[in-house]
Amino acid sequence: MTTTSPAPAARQAPPDDGAALPLVTVRGLQVAYGDGPLVLDGVDLDLHPGETVALLGASGSGKSTLMRSLTGFAPVNAGTVRVAGYDLTNLRRGDLRRLRASVGQVFQQFNLVGRLSVLTNVLTGALHSAGPVNLAGGFSAAHRRQALDLLDRVGIAHKATEQARSLSGGQQQRVAIARALMQQPRLLLADEPVASLDPKMSHAVLELLQQIAHEDGIPVLVSLHVLPLALEHSDRVVGLRHGQVLVSDRTDRLDAVALDAVYADLDNGDDDGDDEGTEEGAR
């Protein structure tokens, strides 16, 4: 088991295949919840520093489960998952917390604590490094400075003292992105981050995510339902169908026919819901 954290990835442009060592390596991943059927069946995936990868697929294709398996929220039945030097098939509890602390996550429903201020919500991204001092609810001045800088970066610093629930959907998602960045993540996962937003906000949020990937040199994995958004805001597209990778290629040389196959089930009306498995059995 490797527990040492490699040095932060250098800033770089979106890589061509194999141009940089992948931060995430998934090989032959199989996932099933309890005694249920396989949700992921032999998935291979590499995520390189600085690239934005769009994860496409119909509901139930395994997108959310793949995201969860990268942070130990889904059980790994077979295969290997390595994220930022951590081997998820053989991870102790303490290491799991350290891994999660190094992976920023953005959710469809933002998952902010509505009654807390925008600033406090962002600060919670630093909980793993806050230590016992924050038992009384205080964060250090350095953390506060960092949080305000991040709010500036996502363009919402003027709302710092407002309750998170008073913000619009797009603004809340920006707060959620700032919270994820507060972790100083080595990987950013965004599970359908624009599903609740209008088209204009969707473009703005995805543009921000792609910009973060390029500027901070971290891989960003975004699951999406809307193909044009994926084509416009990603460097690479991975298409899942029935828990298997059907397509994995750079956006600019994507095979349209292969991509059609990703959504072939929808044409047959076989869209059988999200792959929202239980977390029972997950770590």
Partner: protein, 284 residues
């Protein structure tokens, strides 16, 4: 198959391979006035039978209430006018009652919060959850008067025994409600806290408590209102407060004094209720 409705003759477009609704279930759902389900037809007579059985056992009798209405009116007429000669005694005892309720509520809510962490299924480990729930059930099944008698025998007559009774009694009732308020929080922020690598304590501090906070405060205010009323009862067994004075006035047939006590209690409880409502509005 006989098709009886136009809707069934031209069913909606359905993608091939899609699971279809059972035809009988569809037919039932299409009816404007649906036939009640079997469980409803069986459940209602059982519920009615249970109500009749309980009414007979509890000697519930509306006619008897009507016959006794005259006596009730006579009792109420004796209570007026109230006598305010001993208003200073009533006010002193009411203040003591209020003080008991304040201390009992703070201690009770604090203890209930601690116990609730162990009784919330989304926070506590299994080995702690079940014993805590069991202890709360035992406490809840005992009336506060029993606790009051127990503490009077332990620490003697006076408000201290009443406070202890209130505190312990709160754990059974409010502890359960607190735990359920924590269980009912939105799971999303909790997941987000876990996702940033927060410890269990941090998840509770930043993910659960801020969400459950308004409910916890609201239930604490409800506990306080209940404790003010409860303190009047506890006094009857010598556990302090205005209860003993109330009981004595009833036993001495001092209806004017009794009336003054009751009016003062009503004023106090109403004032507390109004203040609680204002606080609730502010925090939610």
């Amino acid at each position: 198959m006989t098709l009886t409705t136009p809707q069934r003759r031209t069913p909606g477009r359905r993608a091939p391979g899609q699971p279809r609704l059972d035809p009988h279930e569809r037919e039932r759902l299409e009816r404007a006035f649906s036939v009640p389900r079997a469980r409803f037809l069986v459940g209602v007579p059982i519920a009615l039978a249970l109500l009749v059985w309980s009414s007979v056992g509890a000697e519930f009798n509306v006619a008897k209430l009507g016959e006794g209405a005259a006596n009730m009116g006579e009792f109420l007429s004796r209570m007026f006018p109230p006598t305010w000669d001993e208003l200073d005694v009533i006010v002193d005892l009411l203040i003591e009652t209020l003080q008991m309720a304040i201390v009992g509520t703070v201690l009770g809510a604090g203890l209930s919060l601690v116990v609730a962490f162990g009784a919330a299924s989304n926070i506590a480990p299994r080995w702690l959850y079940y014993p805590t729930r069991w202890v709360m059930n035992v406490i809840r099944s005992l009336p506060d008067l029993v606790f009051a008698l127990m503490f009077v025998s332990a620490v003697g007559l006076g408000p201290f025994a009443g406070i202890l009774a209130m505190t312990v009694g709160s754990v059974g009732s409010i502890g359960k409600v607190f735990a359920e308020a924590m269980e009912a929080v939105d799971r999303g922020p909790v997941t987000a806290m876990q996702a940033v690598g927060a410890s269990r304590r941090q998840v509770v501090q930043y993910g659960v408590l801020p969400q459950a906070g308004p409910m916890l405060v609201s239930y604490t205010l409800l506990l306080f209102e209940g404790n003010v009323r409860g303190a009047t009862i506890l006094g009857m067994v010598g556990a302090g407060g205005i209860g003993l004075e109330l009981t004595t006035a009833m036993k001495m047939y001092d209806y004017g004094h009794l009336s003054a006590i009751v009016i003062c209690i009503i004023v106090l409880v109403t004032a507390i209720d109004q203040a609680s409502a204002v606080i609730r509005r502010k925090i939610t």
